[in-house]
């Protein structure tokens, strides 16, 4: 959907790139803003709730207006953060929260809240709200100067990254926007990147999906342990090739504008430990969580126990960000606990971690990460079935 639709290239990417390189440089941000808004309206209308989904483009207009009020240390920045969080809560978590309360209320014989209105999750909400929060927080901390409104519009409406990242930072994007020019070498690299992304998605990710899809089919209840393990690993490959393909197309699209977008992946399955994995997997999200959740919570400055709590909290939030469901919370917890365990191991057995052969370390990390994908790919009930069958049958 979207990047593998012809309309993305024919209606948005190619016209926007041609116009971007044709108009004077001061008009360029508005070209991106215009095509970004049109992109949101078109796909919002088509795939994400019809007219209501399309009208959500007004959120960007509202964000552009309120961002004009941001100053270092200003309460308007805090308001900006609060409204971005509120957008996420309403559109993504309200139904889940009310449903969870009702489940709990039924168990404890408390009054239920009634059925929550099912808000439609609109296009890219998890990603663009994180960019809103970054901008408001960095302005509050004095790390950003207020840019011209057109540049901010281009930042939040840059459509190649709007739907699924990479999550950009204005400090990186703004200066590049000013100096962007058509570079034939970068453009040909961008075309390669887009073609490779499409090939990865269709030829590799979709093939792994044939196996991984069985995790959510009736086969799970009759499968052997080795089959379930193989399907979980297939999902690990599917999600890597799928999401890295998406990032390839986004980054390649940026190259056509003459803009370099931050990388999202750096051979994550070659990581030797879980900490390294998170420096190489979905890099733009990991660094966002580090800068806007983990460090403000105190990071590793407040002692061992507090560091462990902060890590687990940050990863639980990261898990919840991936989806409003218990399995994503469990996935976040899994990674938080892995990271805490890894840090404790390094402190307690420094020689062991230093002397472990690289293939063994890579293999262990790969297995730990892939078992975590079980939580990501199935609801909690199925995860319990999968692991109990693996343990029992193995």
């Amino acid at each position: 959907m979207i990047f593998n639709e012809l309309s993305y290239f024919a209606l948005f990417l190619l016209p926007a790139v041609v116009l971007f390189h044709t108009v004077p440089s001061r008009t360029r941000p508005w070209v991106i803003g215009f095509f970004g808004a049109a992109f949101f309206v078109y796909y919002g209308y088509l795939h994400f709730g019809g007219l209501w989904g399309a009208l959500c483009v007004l959120l960007f207009v509202w964000e552009m207006v309120t961002s004009r009020l941001y100053r270092p240390g200003s309460r308007w920045c805090l308001f900006g953060i609060a409204q971005a969080v509120a957008i996420l809560l309403v559109f993504k978590y309200l139904t889940f929260a009310v449903g969870s309360w009702n489940d709990l209320a039924a168990t404890l014989h408390l009054p239920p809240l009634g059925a929550a209105k099912r808000w439609l999750l609109h296009l890219g909400v998890s990603f663009f709200t994180f960019e809103f929060i970054h901008f408001a927080a960095d302005t509050y901390w004095g790390k950003l100067e207020r840019p011209p409104v057109g540049e901010y519009a281009a930042f939040i409406l840059f459509f190649p990254t709007m739907v699924a990242g990479p999550i950009k930072r204005f400090q990186d994007f703004g200066p590049k926007l000013k100096t962007a020019r058509f570079d034939p070498a970068l453009a040909s690299q961008g075309i390669t990147r887009i073609l490779v992304g499409l090939a990865k998605k269709h030829a590799i990710a979709d093939t792994f999906a044939l196996w991984a899809g069985r995790l959510n089919g009736p086969q799970l209840y009759t499968a052997h342990a080795h089959q379930i393990v193989a399907w979980i690993f297939a999902y690990g490959m599917q999600i890597y090739f799928d999401f890295s393909a998406y990032s390839d197309i986004a980054i390649g699209s940026g190259y056509l504008f003459g803009l370099t977008i931050p990388e999202n992946f750096n051979w994550p399955y070659g990581s030797q430990n879980i900490a390294e994995f998170w420096r190489r997997w979905h890099i733009s999200l990991s660094s966002w969580i580090r800068d806007y959740v983990y460090v403000p919570l105190g990071g590793s400055r407040l002692g061992r126990s507090r560091t462990a709590i902060n890590l687990i909290l940050a990863f639980t939030i990261s898990g919840l960000w991936h989806g409003a469901a218990y399995n994503f919370i469990a996935w976040g917890l899994w990674h938080g606990l892995l990271l805490v365990s890894y840090r404790r191991c390094c402190e307690s057995f420094p020689r062991l971690s230093a002397r472990m052969p690289k293939p063994v370390a890579v293999g262990l990390t790969f297995v730990a990460v892939n078992f975590g994908w079980a939580f990501f790919s199935m609801d909690i009930g199925r995860v319990v079935v999968a692991f109990s069958r693996i343990i029992r049958l193995a």
Binding site: L186, L195, A205, D206, A209, D242, F243, Y246
Partner: protein
Amino acid sequence: MIARLVAFLELLGGARPLGGVTGSRRIALGLWWCVLFFVICATIGRATKFIYVDF
């Protein structure tokens, strides 16, 4: 050796700049695009969505 393989794959994937594009490199790049285009055409149509799109 692994580093060289990684560098080569990143070059194929467009993650590394090609450097000076000489005549033979241009032909190789064109052929590579044709291969990719063929692979895409041969495997497209399973209509699965990108996993992260509606997160």
